[in-house]
């Protein structure tokens, strides 16, 4: 069974934001929400690096742990999905998430944030695959079509990798060896390692 992971190679990311745009277009993401964003460090200065940030589909995901209504779950492929029907928009997943992935259609108070929205690894939601309801709430289900997330597929420099964790690591390892240095797979420790003494 595959364990789906994202990896952004900061030595390759050129901050073109194609991943952000591809995601917004593919899933018809509502106004104001960017499921994937590009963060640039040291912008315009020596040592500038850009990284593409979205839900990392963590092992032992903090959002799943804190959701008061238990509406977030992890699929067999390791993809973290949620049910917008059950979500009460409390914002706790947003407080817990290391990557700032969960977002809300409104910036309102505790009661009026609307349903949480986040990256689905192009894997839809709990609704029936390819149904209209699924598309409207969560966007396209590319994984069910045997395709990988569009952000990574469209990445012009192949900085963003998505897919089975082992294959992603193999590609990255090859790059690091050839390059002679690595920047560390940023976020992997936070997302995929044991945290808080638990798995």
């Amino acid at each position: 069974m595959a364990r789906m992971k994202f990896l952004c190679d900061a030595e390759r990311c050129i901050e073109c934001n194609a991943c952000t745009v591809a995601c917004k277009n593919e899933h018809e993401v509502p106004w104001g929400i960017t499921r994937r964003r590009v963060v640039t460090i040291n912008d315009g200065r020596p040592g500038e690096r850009s990284i593409s940030v979205a839900c990392m589909h963590c092992s032992d995901a903090p959002c799943i742990a804190v959701c008061p209504v238990d509406c977030i779950y992890q699929t067999e492929d390791g993809v973290v999905l949620h049910s917008k029907d059950l979500c009460i928009g409390c914002g706790y997943c947003f407080y817990a998430c290391p990557f700032g992935a969960p977002q809300y259609p409104q910036a309102g108070n505790y009661g009026s944030r609307g349903k949480m929205d986040k990256c689905t690894f192009c894997n839809g939601g709990p609704e029936e695959d390819h149904s209209d309801a699924e598309f409207q709430k969560y966007g396209r289900n590319r994984l069910a079509e045997g395709k990988l997330p569009l952000c990574a597929e469209m990445c012009s420099t192949k900085a963003l990798l998505a897919g089975d964790g082992e294959k992603v690591s193999d590609i990255y390892r090859e790059r690091v060896v050839a390059r002679g240095f690595g920047s560390g797979a940023w976020g992997w420790g936070t997302a995929y390692q044991i945290k808080g003494g638990r798995i």
């Binding site: 030595e11 390759r12 960017t34 964003r37 590009v38 963060v39 640039t40 460090i41 040291n42 912008d43 020596p46 040592g47 690096r49 990284i51 940030v53 903090p62 742990a65 804190v66 959701c67 008061p68 209504v69 238990d70 509406c71 049910s83 029907d85 059950l86 979500c87 009460i88 409390c90 914002g91 706790y92 407080y95 817990a96 998430c97 290391p98 990557f99 700032g100 910036a107 108070n109 505790y110 009661g111 420099t157 590609i171 090859e174 790059r175 690091v176 060896v177 050839a178 390059r179 002679g180 240095f181 920047s183 560390g184 940023w186 976020g187 420790g189 936070t190 945290k195 808080g196």
Partner: protein
Amino acid sequence: MEYWLKRILAAAVASLLIAGVGGVDLSDALIGPAAAQEKGNVPGKSLGTSSDSDLWRALRRGYRSDVPYRDKQKGVAIQSEGENWRNMRNGPLSVYGGWGLGGVIAVLAVFFLLRGRIRVEKGMSGRTVERFNGVERFAHWLTATSFIVLGLTGLNILYGRYVILPVIGPEAFSTLTLAGKYAHNFVSFAFMIGIVMIAVLWLRQNIPDRHDLAWVAKGGGMFTKGTHVSAKKFNAGQKVIFWAVILGGISISFSGLVLMFPFTIEAFGPSFALLNIFGFDLPTDLTSMQEMQLFQLWHALMGLVMIALIIAHIYIGTLGMVGAFDAMGSGQVDENWAREHHDLWLAELEPGAKSAGPSEAGDD
């Protein structure tokens, strides 16, 4: 014409120069189009400029870079405090909170088994005096009913997932919790009004005085039959409840408002700065996200403490003591009850009447 010739010549020379300078780089890249990406190499063969460990460490510790989004929080790639918040909320807060509430109930159960209901020793006189007027009772019940709604919906947010969800299923539980969340938001304002009313009505009578020391020394007469301690309108135990409700109520209302209007108020940083004057070493440079996390923990902690306290308050006001509920029910308490528990207050009410002190009441 001469002018135009000069222009064209100058442009030709300039373009030659540019081509000459750029030519070195271009030819290198044109040798093999795929060479740059061969064997996992970085396009353009940029071999990095320096050791980047400082940069990655900063990122790991929540460095916020500038992003072109309106929400500047999106510039933070990794915020680790969320994990601390999660571990604190799902760990000690839930665990000790649960033990605390269970502990209070257990202690009260033991107390009830050993002591039973505290009765009016001389029996009911049949004559009553007014203890709380309509306004006072309204203030009490406004606070009380809203607090029960707030307490139950709050507990549901913290424990419902483990207690109610498995019983009623995810759909019903989600509907219930959503309704609870709205109730929690709106009923909170009734609670705040109640707190203000209570404070205004009873503050003067709840200022500690010398009788409280005696009351505390004798345990309020709760643990032995026949012991009654002098008290005015409120005894020391009631004063503790009063101040806990007022101070706790203000604190929980403030933290609740912050949670209701997220990322607008920051108070933990300045509070920590204040505490640091007294030798603490607390972080003062908190992000708005950390403020929210701390406010949630504080709000939940205050809620649990107040629920534990109010459980004890409800016990002694209903099951624990005969005649006590009347004070908030009809507002009229039996004269003998008043004489045993609030003798000085009764004496104030009836300046002419003979005051039967607690020593007399306890005298068999």
